[in-house]
């Protein structure tokens, strides 16, 4: 479903991704691990179409369609969702209102009807309970003054509400307590299905105890340097990235 082919990304005249290829078939969950600064967030921004992340070579396709010419919102409407490593705050806009605006914008772009206020309310209350955010938080300005962990929960709430076809989780686990980790597992596992894919970026094995990946890739110096089964994550936990950094250098 998501296919990345020989991707080169330049950010402010520095090449960060240097020929990265990756394929996540529908129904699978893939994990990406890699040292700090290796280009994991850069990859997630490139997939979602952030400005200034210039594609100098290669292609990214979702369900066979190239994403490169699409605006970020068009990619979102096509089903891409990014759980940000560092979620943003939006002062003055109630959380509920923000999520509903986003949902309706996507639905409209896909030619679907807007959700009714009642359906929306029912859904968001139910999902907020799962991710562990109170009703009171939903009324507050989006993410303003929320703790790091609460912001990550908010990312999961949005993913659950927007029901993307492909979700990218960029270090959603960092900063989360054990219960929240389980919650992330619950949300992803609940959404997992034959038509949906996930790319989970993480530094730690523990998230992968809850979200069982089909494959694990190691990203170092702008390329995938190894791919394999879940055992790779365990191995990394023990030995670190030494071997890859040397091989990449």
């Amino acid at each position: 479903m998501l296919k990345i082919d020989d991707l080169h990304i330049t950010v402010q005249e520095t090449e960060i991704l240097k020929g990265l290829s990756l394929e996540v078939p529908a129904g699978e969950v893939h994990a990406i691990m890699g040292p700090n600064g290796s280009g994991k967030s850069t990859l997630s921004y490139a997939i979602t179409g952030r400005e200034d992340y210039e594609v100098t070579q290669g292609d990214i396709t979702l369900d066979g369609d190239s994403l490169l010419e699409m605006d970020p919102n068009e990619r979102a409407a096509k089903g891409l969702f990014l759980s940000f490593q560092h979620p943003l705050e939006i002062p003055g806009v109630a959380t509920m209102s923000f999520i509903r605006t986003a949902l309706n914008a996507q639905r409209k772009a896909r030619g679907e009807n807007e959700v009714t206020a009642a359906d929306f309310l029912r859904a968001i209350r139910e999902k907020a309970k799962i991710v562990g955010l109170s009703d009171e938080k939903l009324k507050r300005p989006f993410n303003v003054g929320f703790s790091g962990g609460e912001k990550k929960r908010m990312e999961m709430l949005q993913m659950a509400m927007l029901e993307p076809r492909f979700g990218i989780l960029d270090e959603t686990d960092s900063g989360l307590d054990i219960d929240a980790l389980k919650m992330v597992g619950e949300v992803v596992n609940e959404m997992r299905g034959p038509d949906r894919g996930f790319l989970v970026i993480t530094h730690y094995q523990r998230l992968l105890d809850y979200v069982k990946p089909d494959r694990v890739h190691v990203l170092a110096d702008g390329r995938i340097v190894e791919s394999g089964g879940p055992e790779i994550a365990r191995e990394l936990e023990e030995h670190g990235y030494d071997k890859y950094i040397q091989s990449a250098a």
Binding site: P72, L80, V93, R100, T101, A105
Partner: protein, 518 residues
């Protein structure tokens, strides 16, 4: 109630609002209505003043007052201290009076020429006594839906009635709901009618807040004002509906000099809204209004403006010069005056709605959103003059500058020597969109009593690329994302507006910023 209102505004920024806005073109009110008009000869002499006064059938005292102002004005110089630039105005090249030919005021709505009715209809202002002022399709719906959203009420939220006084060029053409208001004892009519029908009230209060000699534009207005609105709310009466005046400049080269006087007698309450538009014309048009508010003991006046005069085109050609003197007098104890304004239009704006806090324990508030885009210039702000004891004031100003525009916030907080226990809170935030625009904050503080507690906060920020990308990743297109972020930035002020205006204001924000990014 206040909670409901807050919810309404927050939830109002939903898709429906965004869509409504996008349906609007850049400046939708730019049409010209073809109607035969009767004008005073071009230029400004004593005869012009006499002509206007005669047209209005004014009593001698009014004519004398005007002539005195005119004599003064001839000796005055146009102020130059504001941070705005415009070519010199030739005051002899304007018309000072223009009225639709068929007579200045219509007995009933059926006598109003259909072109004018259609004109106001196009603007969404129903002059037949409809129940919603801003009848933009769906305008009444969004807040209603939002209430359901928040679990408050649900269906059947009663729509508020709004009485309208419509001023077309120099005359008031229609005033709605007069009968219903009369029952409550509220006087709501054009100032011309009030001068004839309630001379004692007008004489007592007009010029008592903004004296003839106040400033160049106010003096000019006193000499040539043509129409405007008069409101009197008797003691103890809570005005049963929102009152509003809708100003429209149609005629070319015609200045609009309206005069508004609102008096809230002891223990009364009134909420008043003002809206303005003008056709798109290549020449600049002049608008110099004077608004006087008087609040007596325990009375409260809430005055809201959505100013959407034609701002000129992308290159800065045309547009309204808006030189306005607005001042409220909290004349007696525990009175309160709130100014709320959304300024999106005009080529040049010069405007400082102020409060004189004379009565002990009186309260002044100023909530403002000013948006400038393209080549617009705005120099606006407020003055809070604390004369009484324990008087408090609150200033929240949100400035958004985009394109090549330039805006200045100028705020004066002054505390009289004898005014014990004064408090002021000022918050002044500027948001810049792009890197060709400018925002300046100029606070003046004169505290002559050491017991005063004055707080001032100011921030300037640029629209954040990170936030924009975040919103777009969630599915909003660029314009929707900007609109959402700007709405959030302005929320503290938007929630002060009456519901109908909040929806209108949110649409305006988006329209005004169209094309400001990307």
């Amino acid at each position: 109630m206040s909670q409901t209102r807050e919810t309404v505004v927050k939830e109002g920024i939903d898709q429906a609002t965004v869509e409504m806005t996008r349906e609007l073109e850049t400046y939708k009110h730019g049409f010209i209505t073809n109607i035969e008009s009767e004008k005073a000869p071009k230029g400004l002499t004593e005869d012009t003043v006499r002509y206007i006064s005669a047209k209005k059938d004014e009593p001698q005292w009014m004519l004398d007052w005007r002539l005195e102002a005119f004599a003064r004005w001839k000796e005055m110089d146009e102020p130059t201290w504001a941070h705005v630039k415009y070519p010199a105005i030739n005051y002899q090249d304007h018309y000072y009076y223009s009225a639709p030919k068929s007579g200045s005021k219509y007995e009933s709505i059926d006598d109003v020429p259909p072109e004018i009715l259609a004109d106001f209809e196009k603007l969404g202002i129903p002059l037949r006594e409809a129940e919603v002022l801003l009848g933009v399709e769906g305008a009444g719906q969004t807040p209603g839906e939002a209430r359901t959203d928040a679990g408050v009420g649900g269906e059947g939220v009663a729509r508020q009635k709004v009485a309208v006084d419509a001023v077309f060029d120099s005359v008031s053409v229609a005033t709605t709901f007069k009968k219903e208001l009369e029952k409550a004892g509220v006087i709501f009519m054009s100032i011309s009618e009030a001068i004839r029908e309630h001379p004692e009230l007008v004489k007592k209060y007009i010029g008592s807040v903004v004296p003839t000699s106040d400033n160049f534009f106010a003096t000019l207005n006193t000499a040539v004002f043509s129409d405007g609105t008069f409101v009197y709310v008797p003691p103890g009466v809570r005005c049963p509906m929102e009152l509003s005046t809708y100003f429209r400049i149609n005629e070319a080269n015609t200045g609009q000099f309206e005069r508004t006087l609102i008096v809230a007698d002891k223990g009364s309450y009134v909420s008043y809204l003002e809206g303005c538009t003008a056709p798109m014309r290549d020449e600049n048009q002049l608008h110099a209004a004077v608004v006087e508010l008087v609040a007596l003991e325990d009375a409260e006046i809430k005055y809201s403006t959505v100013q959407n005069w034609y701002p000129g085109d992308k290159d800065g050609k045309g547009g309204i010069y808006n030189f306005v003197t607005k001042r409220g007098d909290c004349r007696e104890a525990r009175s309160k005056i709130s100014w709320t304004q959304v300024e999106t239009g005009s080529a040049v704006t010069w405007k400082y709605p102020s409060c004189i806090l004379r009565g002990d324990n009186s309260v002044g508030e100023f909530y403002s959103i000013a948006i400038t885009n393209n080549h617009q210039q705005a120099d606006t702000g407020t003055k809070m003059i604390h004369l009484g004891r324990n008087t408090t004031s609150r200033i929240i100003s949100k400035g958004i500058a985009a394109g090549f525009s330039d805006q200045t916030y100028r705020g004066l907080v002054s505390v009289h020597r004898k005014a014990e226990g004064v408090r002021n809170f000022t918050q002044c935030d500027s948001l810049l969109i792009g890197d060709q625009c400018g925002a300046h904050t100029v606070p003046y503080i004169e505290a002559k009593n050491s017991s005063a507690v004055l707080e001032h906060e100011a921030t300037t920020s640029r629209l954040s690329e990170d936030q924009l990308f975040y919103c777009m990743q969630r599915g909003l297109n660029e314009e929707e994302a900007v609109s959402l972020l700007v709405n959030g930035f302005c929320k503290d002020v938007l929630q002060q507006l009456p519901m109908e205006f909040a929806v209108e204001a949110q649409k305006l924000l988006e329209v005004s910023l169209e094309g400001s990014v990307g």
